[in-house]
Amino acid sequence: MFFLYKMKTKLSLNNETKSLVGCVFMLTTKLAKILLLVTVFALVLCGCSGNKDESKTPANDDLSLTELTEAAQSEPTYGGSITVGITQDLDGLDPHKAISAGTKEVLFNIFEGLVKFDPDGNLNPAVAENYHISSDGMVYTFTLREGVKFHDGSLVSVEDVIYSIKRSAGILEPKDPTVVVESALSVISDVVATDEKMVEVRLKQVDSELLPYLTCAIVPKDYDELNTKPIGTGPFKFVSYTPLQSIVLEKNEEYYLEGVPYLDRVTFKISSNVDAAFMELQAGAIDILPYITDVHASQLPKGYHLEAGPMNLIQGLFINNKVPPFDNKLVRQALCYAVDRQAVIDMVAGGRGRVIGTNMYPGFKKYYDESLVNTYPYDPEKAKELLKEAGHPNGFQFTITVPSNYQPHIDTAQVIVEQLKQVGITAKIQLIEWSSWKSVVYKGRNYETTIVGLAAELAPRETLARFRSDAENNFMNYINPDYDGLYKQAEIETVEEKKIQLYKQMQAMLTNDAVAVFIQDPYQMTAVSDKLGGYTHYPIYVQDMSLVYYKKGTNPINE
């Protein structure tokens, strides 16, 4: 799947504020003077509070390592309720129908699959107690955990599991076309119960990377109110949801894991944009606010600290490999040499991000080829040479199409435009609304270049799948039969070592062909109240509230 860091629908209010204020200033000079006074007054007020905050939280800048250890030291307490700010409304409560990352990361607290991710990206048994993969790799057998209950008190049966997996894989009769089927699950041919506790997932063809997708939610069979009253097996129960306002969860007292969750109640409060949410945080109405920007991070009020971790996202300048002059590999390579990726990270995110060189997240440690970062060092001279060789000694012009709803991508585009000027290339930024981007750029492939982030896939192979010549989501129009061959080999490879080797070969191919200018894996920054501990970053989009607790002495309930 594919997202702007997260698919956010936010008005970039900041910008509008600036430009509109600008217009007002031009109206009349008398008026301008008065407005200037008002603005100066406002700025002074901002400035005052800003300075105060900075002096009190000097640790803001060197990420949160020290604070993490501090948090680990403090003793957890049970009870209490918190408010988490989210800046995107939910797109439904049915876990098999939601597509936005912003929804999934909330639903993670309500629903669980047969297996479940832990903070290190490992898969732990959840609704299933253990699993076994047959030697030919065609059958996955799961044994259900004893006594797992849905939030309505009923026990999870094999029937529920069969129903849930079939529904997720789109093989349930009658079929519901509004269910979103992960392509990875389409390899499932059938799900059957072998006894009261065992479920077999049978495949059409060998797939060694199916397991991460079996994190898909287990829901009660034939329950038709998932949309309004979702029922799952997760650490929190659903209480209420009001569009544009909030979703409220409460502790699942019968959760099968001992000791979690700590909190009694979690309210995810929906804000129209991150600026509005940050104001609420400044007023103390929000305890945890993920996805804050660099600017916010430097203005954290007293009583909050910053937690940061990799987003597992590939931000890049993605190129339509079919459109001239980008159909020439030399031109694409020239672009790679002409972009100073570290400078982009420094300017756009205050250095918080990790340079990448290919289409794989550093989070997939085993599979990721770190050495590819050095394939294209920043070298404007080399870029000019390549351009000359490609027949563009005086550079050329092109357009970068950027979705208008996420500022970091726009900022990145602006930095890149400046960098490309150094080698004589003139790039023009064209902003496009997100829905249009999806149909025009992603589906229609009607663009020259674009800057977005490719979001975390659950398995490494999925991140490479889009570059197959005939892949429906091959929006970069990368055509390479050798790559297709390698991919086919990797798909059926069951020996881990060989698979890793194939994946690395494919990554190298993408880098050497300069499919795109891969820039960075950005960091996501979260403001967390100092009273809370246990906030944990996951390698996937998840806001796991089951691990969050009030530190001893700060819990409003215990005092």
């Binding site: 629908t9 939910l90 439904g92 103390g284 149909s439």
Partner: protein, 317 residues
């Protein structure tokens, strides 16, 4: 009475025609802009086959006129369809948000009237006095401040520094009505201030224009006190253009103050409209646009009636 009936019927027919026209325009506009409802619902990596099945299920693959007629048939029965983004009934979705927008409208409109009429009169009576100059100056300033900017300032000063309210902490009226009103006062002020300033300016100049007229001199020469001339004659005449302005403002506020709702994080219609457009949630957009169109048309109709009530000469025209 007969004239009155005829007038109402005429207005009603024009309301229906306008709504029909509006719905056709919105419907068509939504087909013209890029973006795909099926893509929004199933995600970008949905296959063509899945998208096709979705369109089939939702009736999105039928021809434009047929889809419009289907929609119209349901809409006439009061069924505005299903929100693809929220996966709930459009009517339920909108009625919840409408509440917020209506309260905001009522509060800010009351503020506008309560503040602007006395100040406008005061300003006109003191024509060119120090107070009048000051009022004129201030109205100039406040007229030019965009409401959302004012909203940001209000949040900063009253929310974060003075802590008179918690920014973004909207409370449902059913939960705690006093807290609800207390919170809503601030966005209402942000909406009301520029409009109040505009009304004051308008009322002032309208009053001054009337004061010059012959009937005022006549009244004065027959010995009527200034204050009763003002309230019994001038004000009534001066209000007519002001009512037009107020009506336009009311329609504007009722349509949802998109930016103020964003700044104060109000779960109102404006925010819903923005997010539905972004998600190509056609059914919701169509319903909100129709609501806005109805508000504008109905308010215009009411204004006509008020004119007649204030000035019976209007009816004869």
């Amino acid at each position: 009475m007969k004239v009155w009936m005829k007038y109402t019927v005429k207005k009603f027919i024009s309301l229906v025609i306008s709504l029909l026209f509006t719905s056709i325009v919105t419907f068509t506009a939504f087909q013209v802009i890029p973006g795909d409802g099926a893509l929004s619902a199933l995600g970008m990596d949905a296959t063509e086959k899945q998208l096709e099945e979705y369109r089939e299920e939702m009736g999105l693959n039928k021809s434009l006129p047929i889809r419009y007629i289907n929609w119209l048939k349901d809409a006439l029965k009061g069924d505005f369809g299903y929100s693809s983004q929220y996966q709930m009934k459009v009517s339920a979705l909108i009625s919840g948000r409408l509440n917020v927008t209506l309260w905001l409208a009522v509060l800010s409109f009351l503020l506008i009237i309560v503040v602007s009429i006395p100040i406008g009169i005061l300003s006109a009576r003191q024509n060119d006095g120090t107070l009048d100059v000051l009022i004129t100056l201030l109205t100039q300033v406040f007229m030019s401040v965009p409401p959302f900017f004012l909203g940001l300032l209000i949040t900063l000063i009253f929310g974060i520094i003075l802590k008179w309210f918690t920014p973004g902490n909207y409370i449902d009226p059913g939960e705690n009505f006093r807290m609800f009103i207390r919170f809503m006062m601030f966005p209402a002020i942000a909406v009301a201030v520029p409009k109040t300033a505009m009304t004051i300016k308008f009322l002032r100049s309208s009053l001054l224009r009337e004061m010059e007229l012959d009937y005022v001199r006549t009244a004065r020469s027959k010995g009527m006190a200034n204050i009763s001339i003002l309230f019994r004659h001038i004000l009534k005449n001066a209000l007519i253009p002001v009512i037009t302005i107020l009506a336009m403002m009311l329609a504007d506020i009722l349509a949802g103050s998109i930016l103020v709702e964003q700044v104060f994080n109000l779960p109102g219609l404006g925010r819903l409209l923005v997010s539905s457009i972004a998600n190509r949630d056609y059914a919701v957009v169509q319903a909100i646009v129709l609501y806005i169109a109805s508000v504008v048309i109905i308010i215009n109709f009411l204004v006509d009636l008020i004119y007649q009530w204030i000035d019976p000469r209007v009816k004869r025209d």
